[in-house]
Amino acid sequence: MDIYQEEILDHYRHPRNSGSVENPDIIQTERNSSCGDELIFSFKLADGKVAEVMFTGEGCAISQAAASMLTEDITGQAITKAKQLTPDDVIDLLGIELGPTRLKCALLPVQAITKALADK
């Protein structure tokens, strides 16, 4: 199946929550060592929830779209829930099948988010 679905392209071209939050509670950088891509997530937490989350950094269409979709998904979510994001969640959001190499691209934002929230 073609991985460049319209929705993915839309998130890639117009990423949601692109940038950095003001006075962040957490900043988390995550690197994909196979391609050198880096995503930086910043979070504002309040009342046990993810009040705000934004991201910057270079990446391919898959990692950018995944980051964009995930930030939409977890905004307003309980931290206890958001920190339990799994690879399946991002695959569901993207709605495509990925080989092992491209899967790493999709998982980059998942790792950033779960690491950032791990001890919150």
């Binding site: 460049y4 890639y12 196979s34 391609c35 050198g36 270079e58 990446g59 391919c60 269409a61």
Partner: protein
């Protein structure tokens, strides 16, 4: 047409190419011709036995085939004796072995020179050894033209410089270094020269004497041989003098509980049961290449490279990296496409059955210098065709249409 080879008939030798793939990832690994696959199967099917051990005929047949490859490799790289040919699992293993062997001679504050365009496998082993021996790494950088100037080497050499380890040809740009000029300078100062020929050996005749290499490494799988087999050439006096770094079966002469003495070369540096099938396959691959002719292979690839080079240079929104001097390079081009990530370029090419590599190509320091996290790399071998290049260039356009 002064085409020395017919790629169409050569393609028939490679079962995988019949799938219709436009295989442009040859710097990563080449394809295997049927004769190599058959040689491996023949060993496992008809004379599967360990080497140098059994007194029975199959073991002797296996030992003969194994040692015949050693002779083929000796001739392939112009070594003076089969004692100088050590089989390894590949270039990475060879370079680690070279570093460990030569590390024995290093004293605190001694210096090892490597270039700034090395594959990680000709950098990290030296980092490890330098740390171990409290030695120092010194970096031979490129000039503005992105080429290595032998005079730069001269300026780096001190009384402490003991080793120069350089690639023959860059796996990122296909740039071939002036190895002979570099080794001549190094030898003026009794510096030992190690050459990473992983990309050089598949593409042109390699001769360790002409290059002035005291040690030289290459892999089987990049020159039509199997994976998991490679070679470390070492100048005989050097291999004789240095202690083995791996111990075990086959490499010993006499063993007592307290100590051992070593077997003669090359066994001294080749412990344990080797990759017998791999070595036999490598021998077949070398013969296959020699039948075509290394000069003919070089000429064919260079002719195709003209097309690739011009196609990439004239493609809009495409930037290539490395020396601008076309004549200094061959077979490989690394590029970025404005607005399209290298992974996306490769994924979209994959949809058109074009296989390329995307990433840092195991040369992160070089990409850091260029200020890009990743590039897309296309690399040729003699069985590629103009159609492969056209498919690449069309795929790049498709990626631009989709993502920019």
């Amino acid at each position: 047409m002064n085409n020395p080879l017919s790629p169409i008939s050569l393609q028939q030798d490679f079962p995988f190419l019949k799938s219709g793939v436009h295989f442009l990832d040859n710097a990563s690994t080449s394809q295997r011709p049927q004769v190599v696959i058959d040689a491996i199967t023949d060993y496992y099917t008809n004379y599967n036995a360990n080497v140098h051990r059994g007194i029975y005929s199959w073991s002797e047949q296996a030992s003969e085939a194994y040692e015949a490859t050693r002779e083929a490799v000796r001739e392939f790289i112009g070594a003076s004796s089969v004692e100088e040919i050590i089989f390894t699992s590949g270039t990475t293993h060879s370079l680690n072995l070279a570093a460990r062997l030569l590390g024995q001679d290093l004293e605190k504050d001694d210096e090892i020179i490597v270039s700034t365009i090395e594959h990680h496998s000709n950098l990290v082993p030296w980092q490890l050894v330098a740390k171990d021996r409290q030695a120092k790494l010194v970096f031979l950088d490129t000039n503005e033209d992105e080429k290595i100037d032998p005079q730069t080497l001269r300026s780096l050499i001190t009384k402490k410089t003991k080793i120069l380890s350089i690639t023959h040809t860059s796996n990122v740009t296909g740039y071939t270094l002036p190895v002979r000029e570099l080794s001549d300078i190094a030898h003026e100062f009794n510096i030992i020269v190690v050459v990473d020929a992983a990309q050089g050996a598949p593409h042109q005749p390699i001769n360790v004497q002409d290059l002035g290499a005291d040690m030289l490494a290459f892999s089987g799988h990049k020159l039509c041989g199997p994976t998991g087999v490679g070679v470390l050439y070492g100048q005989r006096d050097l291999l004789n003098r240095l202690e083995p770094v791996y111990g075990g079966g086959s490499m010993i002469d006499k063993v007592t509980l307290e100590r051992s003495t070593w077997a003669a070369l090359p066994a001294k540096h080749e412990p344990g049961t080797p990759n017998i099938a791999g070595v036999i396959g490598l021998g077949t691959a070398i013969k296959y290449l020699q039948n075509i002719g290394l000069d003919a292979i070089h000429a064919r690839v260079d002719e195709l490279y003209n097309e690739l080079w011009q196609g990439i240079q004239s493609a809009e929104g495409v930037t290539s990296f490395g020396p601008k001097d076309r004549a200094a390079r061959t077979s490989i081009v690394s590029f970025t496409v404005a607005g399209v990530h290298a992974h996306d370029v490769a994924s979209i090419l994959d949809e058109s059955q074009v296989a390329v590599r995307a990433g840092h190509h195991c040369a992160q320091p070089l990409l850091q210098k260029w200020g890009v996290p990743s590039t897309t790399r296309a690399s040729l071998y003699f069985y590629n065709t103009s159609e492969d290049i056209t498919a690449l260039l069309n795929g790049i356009k498709k990626a631009q249409q989709l993502l920019t």
